[in-house]
């Protein structure tokens, strides 16, 4: 399914007129479902592995935010570059990261994308066009300003997409990065994911702005806002911004309104969340449930088709987990390579020789 879905996307990628999600092909629309389902199934497996103590470090869920990640990443092309954030597992999968890589990253195995050096979604592959974030938030906006500056000065028809959270809009790096990109008219789309909380801090304590998209005017860039739990709306708003960037229109700041249904990470009991809030979002505004209704009611998709996609996602995650569980941990001395370019290995301290 994964290969099929991506293949379908490639064939159709020029067919969608700017801003018209309705022109996505039937196959694209099923692909959107597949990527969201794969994201959720993969995370559920990571939760199991976390509880079995098989993961290293914390586990950061994107439960309830799958439409935000998948719909936006679906709007960029293969040769574009995106920089993901904590809750953009779906974006990375759409951009070509594989479930086995993701599980290995969370297990810090020797054959993980960062060979056990970094965790979670902190990994990158320029060949597939993604750069994972680092923990100091907002920095990737500045880095992506540079990535897209290269597109501009070389005259390449490529676009960059960078995600940040509501919390990171408070950082200097966000401000400095988007301002630089705006002045240079870099082909960059900046998505502010407003999921209600930065760790325990609600958006009202993060910013006095009524909505994050209002900041766009201050930077002199286009601004747009969408329901982050409506995957087609997310696709549409992002596609419009991507097309604008590709045609020389510069930066767009998009606010996607969504909701973080789990804590910052799995250790976080969400004691600060008002009672009933999580349950209400789960019952009334789950992005996958909503999209299933769209597919069945409007696209006349049979439930059996969706069940088949679910089964394929589960099978892929099963296979990936089996594979990752056979991966070895790194060996200690491997920590001493690649600090600098070249094949040299730092000399270990004498008491480690």
């Amino acid at each position: 399914m994964k290969g099929d879905a991506r293949g379908a996307k490639r064939k159709e990628k020029h067919a969608a007129a700017p801003g018209v999600a309705g022109r996505l092909s039937h196959s694209d629309k099923l692909s959107l479902y597949y990527w969201m389902r794969l994201t959720r199934t993969l995370e559920e497996r990571l939760v199991n592995l976390h509880r079995q103590n098989k993961l290293v470090g914390g586990l950061f869920r994107s439960l309830g935010q799958e439409a935000d990640a998948v719909g936006s990443a679906f709007a960029v092309e293969e040769h574009d570059v995106l920089s993901s954030l904590t809750r953009n597992l779906g974006s990375l999968l759409v951009k070509g990261a594989t479930p086995v890589e993701v599980i290995r990253q969370h297990m810090a195995t020797a054959d993980s994308p960062t060979r056990g050096r970094d965790l979670g979604l902190h990994f990158a592959d320029m060949g597939r066009g993604f750069i994972g974030h680092i923990s100091p938030l907002g920095d990737m906006v500045a880095v992506m300003a540079g990535v897209t500056l290269s597109f501009k000065v070389r005259g390449e028809p490529r676009v960059g997409l960078v995600y940040l959270g509501d919390g990171a809009t408070s950082t200097g790096a966000f401000h400095e990065g988007i301002n630089f990109a705006a002045v240079q008219r870099c082909p960059l789309v900046v998505i502010a994911e407003n999921n209600g909380y930065a760790y325990s801090t609600p958006t009202a304590k993060q910013s006095a702005a009524k909505q994050f998209v209002d900041k766009a005017a201050g930077y002199g860039v286009a601004g747009d806002r969408a329901d982050g739990n409506d995957v087609l709306a997310v696709y549409e708003v992002t596609k419009r911004a991507v097309d604008r960037a590709r045609s020389g229109g510069g930066v767009t700041l998009i606010e996607l309104v969504t909701y973080r249904r789990r804590g910052h990470a799995e250790h976080d009991n969400q004691s600060y969340v008002p009672g009933g809030e999580v349950e209400r979002w789960a019952a009334e505004n789950d992005p996958i449930d909503r999209y299933v209704r769209v597919l069945i009611d409007r696209e006349k998709v049979e439930q059996s088709e969706l069940d088949a996609i679910d089964a394929r996602a589960t099978a892929e995650v099963d296979a990936a987990a089996d594979q990752a569980l056979r991966s070895p941990p790194p060996s200690g001395p491997d920590a001493l390579t690649d600090v600098y370019a070249g094949a040299s290995r730092l000399a270990p301290h004498w008491y480690r020789k």
């Binding site: 320029m126 500045a142 880095v143 992506m144 540079g146 290269s150």
Partner: protein, 324 residues
């Protein structure tokens, strides 16, 4: 060949590298039309265009972050901090992102950050700093501090071609005071190799940057008293040239380390520790440091002269080491 200044040598390196490789470009505050606060990049925008000499907002985070992103894509950015003092604004991006990128994800950051640094110019607390030690402490960065015009050119050309991020601390005091004749051809000074600035046999002064010249003055004065002083110009602080340090210790058995940076946590302590670990038995005297006092650098001449190491201080330290 005519002599050119240390500053002109830097500009010559930029021009040569930009002509050699279309991926090389400059970015920074006021570097384009104005040619930079010190006129290092004067004329470059007219010559190479606005896409290769980019005037940026006042934003060290964006300058360094954008340089890193451009470097990921195969460009070779040369970012300018208007004063090295402001590099601390980009400390997070440099240490958390640039320095770790290759190690973590395999994405290279071949970029240069030029940082006009140093005192003896009455610049005060925010236009005189020597922030190198903070970055020497960060694995993944390379750090060079040229003392001569020849090295300013040769090290910058090497830094631009290096596949890692190089912090290039160019000394403001030397910009127009030091001249040199550039070696012919494609002049590259290797990163990571110290230089013997003055041969000697009785005592070694290990230093870098502007204090190389004060060490040579001190060596001249000590020579009149019959003391033969060797002056080692480190040129690169990361990676440090341990071989050159050990060689001079074995030759003279007495060491004074001099730097303009403040004392506590300065690189002199690191060098002394390495001498202790690598060649302690070759020493005839304790290793002494001559450094700035541990205060923010004040503006008034009398205050700055008191705080920063002077030639007489180096002579005094050498005489003390010589008495053992």
């Amino acid at each position: 060949m005519a002599e050119i200044t240390y500053l002109e040598a830097i500009r010559e390196a930029l021009v040569e590298e930009m002509e050699r490789d279309a991926n090389v470009f400059c970015l920074g505050e006021d570097v384009g039309v104005f040619g930079g606060a010190f006129k290092v990049t004067e004329g470059l925008q007219a010559r190479f265009g606005e896409n290769r000499v980019i005037d940026t907002p006042i934003s060290e985070i964006a300058i360094v972050g954008a340089a890193a992103g451009a470097a990921h894509m195969g460009l070779r950015p040369v970012a300018e901090m208007q004063f090295a003092d402001f590099i601390s604004c980009a400390y997070d991006v440099l240490t958390n992102y640039v320095a770790t990128s290759r190690y973590r994800t395999g994405l290279a950051c071949p970029m240069v950050v030029r940082a006009p640094s140093g005192g003896y110019v009455r610049g005060g607390p925010f236009h005189s700093q020597n922030p190198e030690a903070a970055f020497v402490h960060t694995p993944g960065l390379k750090i060079v501090c040229p003392a001569t015009a020849e090295d300013a050119k040769g090290l910058l050309k090497s830094a631009i071609r290096d596949d890692d991020c190089v912090l290039f601390f160019e000394h403001k005091y030397l910009y127009r005071r030091i001249k040199g004749v550039m070696p012919p051809g494609d002049h590259l000074t290797p990163i990571g190799k110290a230089r013997i600035a003055r041969e000697g046999k009785d005592l070694s002064i290990i230093t870098y940057g502007a204090t190389v010249w004060k060490a040579i003055e001190a060596a001249d004065q000590l020579a009149q008293a019959g003391v033969s002083v060797e002056v080692i110009d480190l040129r690169t602080l990361a990676p440090l040239d341990d071989d050159a340090i050990v060689a001079t210790v074995k030759k003279t058995n007495r060491v004074v380390i001099v730097h303009e940076d403040t004392r506590t946590g300065g690189i002199a302590g690191e060098i002394a520790a390495r001498i202790n670990e690598l060649c302690w038995e070759w020493l005839d005297a304790p290793v002494l440091r001559v450094t700035a006092h541990d205060v923010p650098l004040p503006s008034a001449a009398a205050l700055e002269d008191f705080v920063l190491p002077q030639t007489a201080d180096i002579v005094a330290a050498a005489q003390r080491v010589g008495r053992y």
